[in-house]
């Protein structure tokens, strides 16, 4: 996965079920103590601390000034760009990842394809940050291998307006890890689509498309949605990749947070807290949207 998984590890892929139904007197709940301890220490407490700091004036007392700053064009713009790149790469990576995973699981595909694909995806989904940035500079940069190769055939992509160091370039780079991440998380769900359902639908007269419309996609819907939220968060929180690639020329929230907390430009940790709080709000909204949409499938899901 990308640089940080801090926010996304807690996203619900599907609702935990039955955790709270342990019988009275049973000690089964002991097993979840480490989990809650962990989330309290590393998620809830930092979030709480961050939230209060976002409202705390360096001179003492409380203030809304940092939150208000978020609505200044530079910061507002960063949020829009971050949301846009996260949405675009989640959709592109998600949709193509779904198709690749689907194609690899077909019965007429040789058996060795699958382990190869999952191994590759495991590696590629975790290939991010500075190494990934360099890999792309070496291939699609101004003097990159692919750029040079295309130029030799008369296609000078940089002359035609492409640049790796822009939003488009960054999008392509993000898709490099978004797509395999999608493959990794959607394969188990695709495998859950039973052959009997497909054959029963065919037997009853349905075409391939009709099967997917009435059965396949509705069943896959909760997992797809969860995967998309995961990809969204994954892109939103990416820091090292865009930093190494664009050195800040594309205005993204994590890079701003980096700037104001590391003090390279101006150290303003409280503004960093406010930006992080904004991020938490965005991610929370995406989880709420997920939960609302997912409710549709709730009635037939096993509880």
């Amino acid at each position: 996965m990308a640089d940080t998984t801090r926010d996304i590890t807690t996203l619900p892929m599907s609702r935990p079920r039955g955790i709270l139904v342990a019988k009275r007197g049973s000690l089964a709940w002991l097993g979840v103590v480490p989990f809650f301890l962990y989330t309290t220490l590393f998620l809830l407490l930092p979030a709480l601390w961050l939230t209060t700091d976002a409202f705390r004036s360096p001179t003492g007392g409380y203030t809304f000034s940092f939150i208000q700053k978020l609505f200044q064009s530079q910061y507002e713009n960063a949020f829009f760009t971050s949301i846009r790149i996260s949405l675009v790469t989640a959709l592109v990576g998600g949709i193509f990842g779904l198709f690749v995973a689907y194609a690899a699981l077909r019965e007429d595909v040789p058996r060795w394809v699958r382990p190869l694909l999952t191994t590759y995806s495991g590696v590629a989904a975790n290939f991010a940050g500075v190494p990934l940035a360099f890999a792309f500079v070496a291939t699609l940069g101004g003097a990159g291998l692919v750029t040079q190769f295309l130029a030799r055939f008369g296609l000078d992509i940089y002359a035609r307006g492409f640049s790796l160091y822009t939003f488009t370039g960054l999008t392509i780079t993000y898709v490099y890890f978004q797509l395999p991440l999608m493959i990794l998380i959607i394969i188990p769900s695709l495998e859950g689509i039973k052959r009997e359902w497909r054959e029963a639908a065919t037997n009853l007269g349905a075409t391939h498309t009709q099967f997917w419309r009435h059965i396949g996609l509705p069943i896959l819907f909760p997992s797809l949605l969860g995967a998309m939220v995961l990809l969204f968060g994954n892109a939103f929180s990416a820091y090292a990749t865009p930093y190494a690639l664009t050195s800040g020329s594309v205005n993204l929230v994590p890079i701003l947070i980096g700037n104001v907390t590391s003090g390279e430009v101006v150290a303003d940790p409280n503004l960093g807290d406010a930006l992080a709080l904004g991020t938490i709000v965005i991610i929370s909204i995406s989880v709420v949207i997920y939960a609302l949409l997912q409710r549709r499938s709730d009635k037939w899901l096993r509880r």
Partner: protein
């Protein structure tokens, strides 16, 4: 209702031959079972008929229509799978309506038909439930209703009861038979459970290694097995290797003993045969001391008892090997283990099957009865 014809179906998966030129005609409205051990090609045959698998050779006809090249979704066949085939995102009613929805029927019409069918399978009260809210047996009833909803030309069932417990299995198989008879629909039923096949079918097809061993009514399959395989596979059978004797009243010889068999009169003496004798046709009497009562076919010692409910299966050790004898359970109490007994049978009962010349130990000692064969047939 049209009949179904399979003509010279051949199917190979790599090296494995799943079907070897299978020919079968199912009459209109007939209930035919494909019965055989695991891996004999039953499912393959059914899937070829349904169109999920393509035969390397051979044709499939429904009525006079050749459907070999018709895609699976236009074959109009109702299929009931082994388990888990209901669409989990649809209620029982929606599942049953699915085929009609695909056929663009009006929703009022669909709903009427669905409730009619759910009523037929005895699930009128479960229309709004999702598959996970139904028991295994109920799910299979819905699956049956769903398959019938499209008014299929042929009903195909692939071990639809094998995931259910014994009691539900018996109840549901009778219901499937009742509904099939009521609708007069042609049905092809796959099972590896001989009791199931024999109890519900008009005819049973016994398969082994992708080939038909015997086709016949349940009574024919049970009472007149034509091959060594069928004799061994159906029910419990005492199998005794013997040689036909020149004897006007009919007899064979095994391990130096004369065994009365009327059927032997029609066979050339010296022929190497397998004598088949059901446990229930042998009469067992306790003997006092070592004396022979006279007139019995064989004497032996009781080796073990297996209680099967109304009868007890007694294993008797004899000079021609161990024989299985079914004794009414009330009488079985008087024959203790080790007791000396006489065995008699009506010479008209045993059947003979010719063994290939020179075949030695085709079936091993007189009767090898595996544990799993010890079921009431």
């Amino acid at each position: 209702m049209p009949g179904l014809k399979l003509q010279g179906l051949h199917k190979q998966f790599g090296e494995v031959v799943a079907l070897r030129t299978l020919d079968l005609a199912v009459e209109s409205g007939e209930f035919v079972s494909l019965l055989g051990p695991s891996g004999c090609g039953k499912t393959t045959a059914l899937r070829i008929v349904a169109g999920f698998e393509h035969a390397d050779e051979g044709r499939i006809l429904v009525g006079d229509k050749d459907i070999t090249d018709v895609p699976a979704n236009r074959r109009d066949m109702g299929m009931v799978f082994q388990s888990y085939s209901l669409f989990p995102n649809m209620t029982a009613q929606q599942n049953v309506e699915f085929g009609l929805r695909i056929r663009k029927q009006r929703s009022a019409e669909r709903a009427r038909r669905a409730s009619e069918l759910l009523d037929l399978v005895g699930l009128a009260s479960a229309t709004g439930r999702y598959p996970h809210q139904l028991s295994g047996g109920q799910q299979q009833r819905v699956a049956l209703a769903r398959a019938l909803a499209i008014e299929p030309s042929v009903l195909l069932l692939d071990e639809p009861l094998s995931a259910l417990d014994a009691k539900v299995r018996v109840q549901l198989r009778e219901e499937i038979r009742r509904i099939q008879t009521q609708l007069g629909i042609t049905a092809l039923y796959v099972t590896h459970d001989q009791e199931e096949a024999l109890s519900v079918s008009d005819r049973v097809v016994v398969l082994s290694h992708g080939q038909i061993e015997q086709v016949g009514t349940p009574a024919e399959i049970y009472g007149e097995p034509q091959t060594v395989f069928v004799a061994a596979f159906i029910g419990t059978m005492n199998r005794i290797e013997a040689t036909v004797r020149a004897d006007p009243s009919g007899a064979v010889e095994s391990a130096g003993h004369r065994l009365p068999v009327h059927a032997a009169r029609n066979w050339t003496s010296g022929l190497h045969v397998l004598m088949l004798l059901r446990p229930e046709v042998i009469d067992l009497r306790p003997l006092q001391g070592d004396t022979s009562a006279g007139g019995e076919a064989m004497t032996g010692n009781v080796k073990s008892h297996t209680f099967l409910g109304p009868v007890t299966r007694v294993q008797v050790s004899t000079p021609i090997g161990d024989l299985m004898v079914d004794v009414p359970s009330v009488e079985a109490l008087s024959v203790s283990i080790g007791a000396r007994v006489s065995l008699t049978w009506d010479p008209a009962s045993p059947r003979l099957i010719e063994l290939p010349a020179g075949a030695e130990n085709v079936v091993g000692p007189a009767a090898i009865i595996a544990e799993d064969e010890l079921q009431p047939a």
